[in-house]
Every structure is written in structure tokens, then in C-alpha cells.
Symmetry: C2
Subunit: 294 residues, 2 copies
């Protein structure tokens, strides 16, 4: 019943790993591979067995030799490496954002399960987790209601975001010189400059950098509720802008410049500059989102 996505992901990762080793070399122990691939030894053994069966490696007593470098072609496709619960997330977001579901739409577990081709249990579990994003609401003994990806949603989201982010950004002013965070900030600036230099080709990489940047700011004073809220922001932006490409390049370039300004402000340790740069960026991000919703 359970899908073997873990195995397939590990298998793909193992292909990459084998290509870094020489032909005829001896493979690391099962335990070492387990640590490297981040799965259990059970799965490692399954991958090794599969590699043996394909003749990629030769199993001798107490060691395994690489016989040939596996072909990229043999990788399992991306979809097959995603757990059903992850696929459901995508399906749901697609339903919501692409099909432009109306505020107030009733969500029917059974119907979604049929539409997505998965068991009701999975849909139910997904909806329960998804509840925290503030877009759906449960009604006792009945289904769920989709509250809508509306301007109001964006405003409420940004109100919290501003509180959280201003709070973290301000803390940089009193962050000691010796803090290792400053190094990360410098690396972050470099990453931004790099992306900016090649913006025409790589503007789609911004989404991930954005998320990393905002998480870095929050790291000065860890708070689980703030971190959890950043998941909300990340997922909303990730999916929304994935289906909404208008002005993508410009939008991202503007955001990068705002980030750079904020980094400068952080490094200046001047509260007023930090406040100003932070608020400027958040305001601009909010307006961009609002425009794209309207």
C-alpha cells in the first residue's frame, strides 16, 4: 500500500554518489551509505540489491565494487520520488490557484480524493495540516470551507509578517561583532549579487533565495512560532508565483535590490535605517502580491 518513493529517491541519490567514485572502487559500508543518503539501512540494502541486479555494482563477500557508472537515464522520474502526501499538496495548490477557486467554496474530502486519485485518508490528513495556512476552515461533522486567496488574506499575512520581520531585523542592531551570523549575512549578499549579475537567465532562482534570506533574518532570535509562520509565507509564495508569472523578472530584480538595501542597513547597525529598509521591502512585496491577486 505504502509507495516506495523513499527507495526511488535514495536510488537516484545513489546514482549521483556512484558517479563521484572511480570504477573498480570499493563502496562505503551500508552504515556509511545510510548516513550519506539519509535513509535507513533497510532502504540502503534495497538500493544496493537493485544496483547489483542491474550490474552497476558487484557484490562480493563483505564488499561491493563499482563495475560501471550508472546512466542518468536510469533515474526514477521526479514524480515517483514524491510521497503521495507531497503530491496531494501540489494537486491541491493547483486546484486552488490555477482553477481560481472562489471564496466560500465548500471542500469535499471525498470529492478531492477522487479528483486527485488518492485515498480519502490522505486528503483528510493534508487538509488538517494545511489548516494552519489560514486558507481553509473546518466545520464540525461536515467538510471544509475555502476562505479564498483574497486581498484580505494577503493583508493579514503581511500584517504578521511585518511584526515578525521588524522584530528580528531590529535585533541586528545589537548583534555583537563576533556573531557568526554576520558571516552568513555577507554570504547572503554575495548570493544576491551573483543572482543579480545573471538575472536575465536565473531570475527563477529567486524564490528559493528569498525564503532563505527571510529565514536568515529570523535566526538572530529563534522562535518556533515565527519559524512556523515562515513556512506559511514560503509555501504561499512558492505556489502563487509558480502559477503567476506576470512581470516575474522585474519583480524579482526589484526584490533583490531591496534585499541588498536591507543587508546594508543591517550591517550599519542603525535602527532607523533597518526599520526603513525593512518596511520598504515589505510594503513593496505586499503591493506586488496584492496586484497579482486583483
Amino acid at each position: 500500500m505504502r509507495t516506495d518513493t523513499t527507495f526511488k529517491r535514495a536510488f537516484n541519490d545513489m546514482i549521483d554518489l556512484l558517479r563521484t567514485l572511480d570504477l573498480g572502487a570499493e563502496l562505503p559500508s551500508e552504515n556509511a551509505l545510510r548516513a550519506q543518503l539519509g535513509v535507513s539501512r533497510t532502504t540502503v540494502r534495497k538500493v544496493l540489491a537493485s544496483m547489483s541486479a542491474r550490474g552497476v555494482i558487484v557484490s562480493e563477500v563483505h564488499r561491493r565494487i563499482i563495475r560501471e557508472h550508472p546512466q542518468q537515464i536510469e533515474r526514477y522520474p521526479k514524480e515517483e520520488t514524491l510521497a503521495i502526501s507531497e503530491q496531494v499538496e501540489t494537486s491541491f495548490m493547483e486546484w486552488m490557484l490555477r482553477d481560481n477557486a472562489c471564496p466560500g467554496t465548500e471542500i469535499n474530502e471525498a470529492e478531492l480524493a477522487r479528483k486527485f486519485g488518492v485515498a480519502t485518508t490522505i486528503v483528510r490528513e493534508f487538509l488538517n495540516r494545511f489548516q494552519k495556512y489560514g486558507l481553509i476552515e473546518k466545520r464540525q461533522n461536515a467538510g471544509w470551507v475555502f476562505k479564498g486567496f483574497t486581498a484580505n488574506f494577503a493583508l493579514e499575512l503581511f500584517e504578521i509578517r511585518e511584526m515578525f520581520e521588524m522584530r528580528s531585523a531590529r535585533l541586528f542592531a545589537s548583534l555583537p561583532d563576533g556573531s557568526p551570523i554576520w558571516k552568513q549575512v555577507r554570504a547572503m549578499r554575495a548570493a544576491h549579487l551573483e543572482l543579480l549579475a545573471d538575472i536575465d537567465a536565473r531570475f527563477q532562482d529567486f524564490s528559493e533565495l528569498d525564503s532563505r534570506f527571510h529565514r536568515l533574518i529570523a535566526v538572530v532570535a529563534p522562535n518556533r512560532f515565527i519559524e512556523s509562520f515562515q513556512d506559511v509565507i514560503a509555501i504561499i509564495f512558492h505556489y502563487h508565483y509558480q502559477w503567476n508569472k506576470r512581470d516575474e523578472r522585474t519583480r524579482n530584480e526589484v526584490a533583490i535590490r531591496e534585499h541588498l538595501a536591507l543587508i546594508d542597513a543591517l550591517e550599519s547597525r542603525n535602527i532607523a535605517s533597518i526599520d526603513q529598509a525593512c518596511r520598504a521591502h515589505l510594503t513593496s512585496a505586499r503591493e506586488t502580491l496584492l496586484r497579482s491577486i486583483a
Copy 2:
């Protein structure tokens, strides 16, 4: 498979409802009852059938007559009116707070299901929902980790709480005179004074009043994320203080006086007073919680 807790709750409610009507009177229509009891007509009919079978009411064509007032004794016990998922919440909180689970404890879905005597599905669903309270964390393809009801948890909780509550409280300063919220504030003060007058007997009623008070403050400018966070606070306080009765009476009396001070400040519309009263209460509440954790 599904339990009939909805029916039992509706049955109990119907007993209360029947006692407000005269013997020999005609019952409202099924539809009217449905609205009053907050359940589906299907359940109403089941309750009516059950009442008929017990001879409490007589079903004639197109109407039903009350034959006798049902005895309190016939009510279903409280436990049987709680959905399994609600019972699991209690069981889990009890495990966590009463058994004093250590930070880092691994939570095993299967084991909990056995311990609580419910299906794994239910435990899993509960844990997924409970995740948002920041006390547990999921590990891929493995179980959950209990992060501990620690001082750190309390501090992070109160950091957010302070941001949210100060934000709402301040908004009262610019709330127009005509706003219906002022009436609710006055009613809230009355409720506090009433409880204070009878504090020795009713100090246990504070928990619920506390939650209502803080929700009222947030209502000035609704934000779904703030509301959701109030669920976190409510559930944590509800269960924590349910198993931790030290100084309960004093603690609650102090809080009531702080609430009253805050109400005065809100009505004064003076930002500085509001800030001060709000912060004073939150600080005191935080210290109380911290003391009870240590």
C-alpha cells in the same frame, strides 16, 4: 465504526429543550429542532425516535406531543458525547502534562494508539493538528519528537503573545466612540467584577473568562493568524492549569485585577496607559507560567 457521540450530545440537549416546554405541548418541526440543536435533521429524527421509544413524546401524524418531562438521569454521560478525536486530545495532554514527559521524548503513533485505545489513524490526525502548538515536531518517515513544555516554550509563546496583544490593545485608542465593541468591553468589566465578588467560590471559572477577554481585545482588527494563535494560548493554559492548581485562587484574583486595570486603560484611550497595563499583565502572566513550569 464511527461513534454516535453527535446523537448522544443532541439527545442530552433535547432533554434540556423539552424541559423548557409544557407537558402536552407540540414540539417544533424537525427543521426548527435541527437549527436549535445544531445538528442535521437525520440526527434530530434519531433523537425523536429515541424519545418516542422511551415514551417521553408521542408521535402523531405531522406532530409530536410531549408526554412527560425526561429525567436528568437518562442523560448520556459526558464522555460518551465527546468525539474520539476530542478524547485523544485530553489523553495526550494528560500524558504530556501529568506524566511530565521529558523534552526529546520520541512519540510513537502506534504506541500512543495502543495506550489510548484508539486507531492509529486518529492519533496521527491528532498529532498533525497538534503540531501547530509548537510542542511536537515530525521527522520524515519516522515518529514525532516531543520538544518539551519548557521555560523556552513559555518564553517564545509570550514573545508572540505580547506582539499580538499590544498591537490589538493599542488600536483601542483610536476606536470610535460609536463602536459596538465598547459595549462588549463594559460587559466584560461587569463579568470580571462579578467573578471577583465571588472569587472564593468561583475562582475556577476564570480560565474561560480569561480566554474570552483576550479574544475580545483581538476583535478590534480581526486577523486569522492572531485568532489561530489564541487557540494555542487557550489550549495550553486550559490544560496546564487544569493539572497545576498551585495558588490557583490567588493567581486568578491577581489576573482579574490586571484585566480590570487594562479595561480602564482601554477606555481611557491613552496609548501610554494601555501599553503599560497590557505589558504589566503579560509580564505577570508570563512569570506565573514560568514559576509553575520550573
